[in-house]
């Protein structure tokens, strides 16, 4: 496909996504906004896991940290557009710290190190009641008014979130097309070789974690403002597992992998559960089991993710 056609197709898709909100129920618009929020986090995780080849089971912790920072600061009256960079910077710095184990260990050891971080953050959110409100959480988080435009309405806030997601996506696209993207891929494919070619694998490993974490932190700010109430539940490590699943199901290391993968983890379960079609009635009870089986089958047949389907067909079609 020609680049110009691709851009046009992408712009049209975004326009359609924005327009459908006018025709959808309030709960569906909420769900689409939630999708955008999680996509910010999974875009970041795809950089860490898919492009730089690091393992992370702690993305939900960064989403949570961003959300709690937003809850506290927005309630103090800080402007939303200031809270976003604050959450991004805090998560970036914490991401650098969480990246340190990756300099020593890889794969499942690293998975457990990052999972440990997620558990720690979760416990802090639950137990540090004075700051986080503990299990009661923090309620009454305001939605922003920006340049005099009230974004309190569900459609307005959705458009704002979608627009912010597009900006974040463009920034990541630009970053991954720069020499940094190539260095991340070199780190993923062969760190020993990369180092012998002057690639500072320490710096790029830490940056991969930090940038991924910052994306989740930004997502967290939108999450808090969307839900208007936060408690530790959504930031449990099981959410990190789902985000990792989104990256892998979509196609890790492919820019649009998380776009597809996040549909699978956020929208598909809700659609299955909420379906009122008679032949899909059983889904209201069985949706989690069906979802689980579907994921297992998908991983068996398409380890490269859903976006690898065209390549798979192209390979099959090629005469041997």
């Amino acid at each position: 496909m020609k680049p110009a056609l691709r851009v046009a197709l992408l712009a049209a898709s975004i326009a359609v996504l924005a327009a459908v909100a006018l025709a959808l129920k309030r709960s569906d618009v909420y769900l689409l906004t939630l999708y955008c929020v999680y996509l910010m986090a999974t875009f970041g995780l795809n950089l860490t896991v898919g492009y730089a080849g690091q393992m992370s089971l702690g993305q939900a912790a960064f989403l949570g940290i961003g959300a709690y920072i937003a809850a506290i600061l927005l309630k103090l009256g800080w402007p939303f557009l200031l809270v976003v960079p604050v959450a991004a910077v805090v998560c970036f710095v914490l991401g650098l710290v969480v990246g340190f184990p990756a300099l020593r260990v890889q794969h499942h050891y690293l998975a457990f190190a990052t999972l440990g971080f997620n558990v720690l953050v979760y416990l802090a959110m639950r137990n540090e009641e004075q700051i986080t409100g503990g299990t009661f959480g923090i309620s009454g988080i305001p939605r922003p008014t920006i340049l005099g435009v009230d974004l309190g309405g569900h459609v307005a806030f959705y458009w704002f979130t979608l627009g912010s997601l597009v900006v974040l996506g463009l920034l990541l696209w630009w970053l991954l097309r720069s020499p940094w993207g190539r260095a991340f891929a070199a780190l993923r494919d062969n760190p020993i070789r990369a180092e012998s070619l002057g690639i500072n694998i320490t710096a790029y490993t830490l940056l991969a974690f930090a940038i991924g974490a910052a994306c989740a932190g930004i997502g967290g700010v939108y999450f808090a403002s969307l839900v208007e109430f936060i408690e530790p539940g959504p930031f449990h490590f099981s959410a990190s597992l789902m985000m990792l699943l989104a990256v892998i199901v979509g196609g890790q290391g492919r820019f649009f992998g998380p776009v597809v993968g996040t549909v699978v983890i956020i929208l598909v379960p809700e659609l299955l559960r909420g379906s009122s079609a008679p032949w899909l009635k059983f889904m209201q009870v069985w949706y989690l089991a069906v979802f689980g089986v579907a994921v297992v089958l998908l991983m068996l047949w398409l380890p490269g993710g859903l976006l690898s389907i065209p390549e798979r067909f192209a390979r099959k079609a090629k005469p041997r």
Binding site: L175, P179, D189, N190, R193, S196, L197, G198
Partner: protein, 259 residues
């Protein structure tokens, strides 16, 4: 030490690399046991020896992959003993490994650009640099030299062993290093490609002033490429000199073939 014609050792001021009495012991095993040699700019030195004679361990000790038990390594007069591979790369020392080491998911062209991009400006500067880091022309030049034009846009991991070997070697030369250490460049490569490789290395030596240390088992390759050869046995230098002399040395023959 073998009799035979010896090239004069490079004078101290002319030494690019000076390996001085380097040893690497693992408990009682002396993998490398006091090896010394020097290399002048533009020179090619071959390292031969039976399997297990310590050639790769010597390379790893020179290149900071492992810390030598004793001895020192100097590069352009600076002590670089046990410096990290990253620091050595920045000083202009490139290497290839015994096994294939390419970036499998990147295209051939991106492999070559990745091999040199970190030598362009600062890390922050590279974030704002052009996607090819200004190395597109250089990469195309290497692609042409290594005859990889027809596969330049394919993922390196999908290519044949021989093609990946060429990429691997081209990558080491991408940043125009002052010195390259090649560990068995001919291993697993078909005879036609061996000749092509030798011609390539000779061209790089001639046109770009490349200085190499080459570990290789292929005697024909070593004889034609390297004016000076070191033969290692059991961690020590058994003989060194012109390739024909080393090959004819009775001690070398005995080490390879036994009594």
């Amino acid at each position: 030490m073998s009799g035979g014609m010896r090239r004069p050792a490079p004078a101290e001021s002319e030494r690019l690399l000076h390996v001085r009495d380097v040893a690497k012991h693992y408990g009682a095993i002396r993998a490398v046991d006091g090896v010394s040699f020097a290399l002048a700019p533009g020179e090619i030195v071959g390292v031969i020896g039976p399997n297990g004679s310590g050639k790769t361990t010597l390379f790893n000790a020179i290149l900071g992959q492992i810390r030598p038990t004793s001895g020192s390594v100097e590069f352009r007069g600076e002590d670089i003993t046990a410096r990290s591979p990253l620091e050595l790369a920045r000083r202009g020392i490139g290497r290839t490994f015994q096994t294939l080491q390419v970036f499998g998911q990147l295209s051939v062209r991106d492999n070559l650009i990745a091999a040199a991009q970190e030598f362009q400006g600062t890390i922050t500067g590279r974030l704002f640099a052009r996607p090819d880091a200004g190395l597109g022309a250089r990469a195309d030049e290497m692609i042409e030299l290594f005859r990889l034009g027809h596969v330049a846009h394919l993922k390196a991991g999908t290519l044949s062993y021989g093609q990946q070997k060429l990429i691997d070697i081209a990558m080491a030369f991408m940043p125009s290093p002052r010195l390259v250490l090649l560990d068995e460049p001919c291993a697993g490569v078909n005879p036609g490609l061996v000749d092509q490789l030798r011609e390539l290395l000779a061209t790089l030596n001639r046109t770009q002033g490349g200085s190499f240390v080459v570990i290789e088992h292929n005697m024909d390759f070593i004889m034609k490429l390297c004016p000076h050869v070191i033969c290692m046995v059991e961690g020590r230098v058994l003989a060194e000199g012109a390739p024909a002399d080393v090959q004819a040395d009775p001690a070398v023959l005995e080490a390879y073939l036994g009594n």
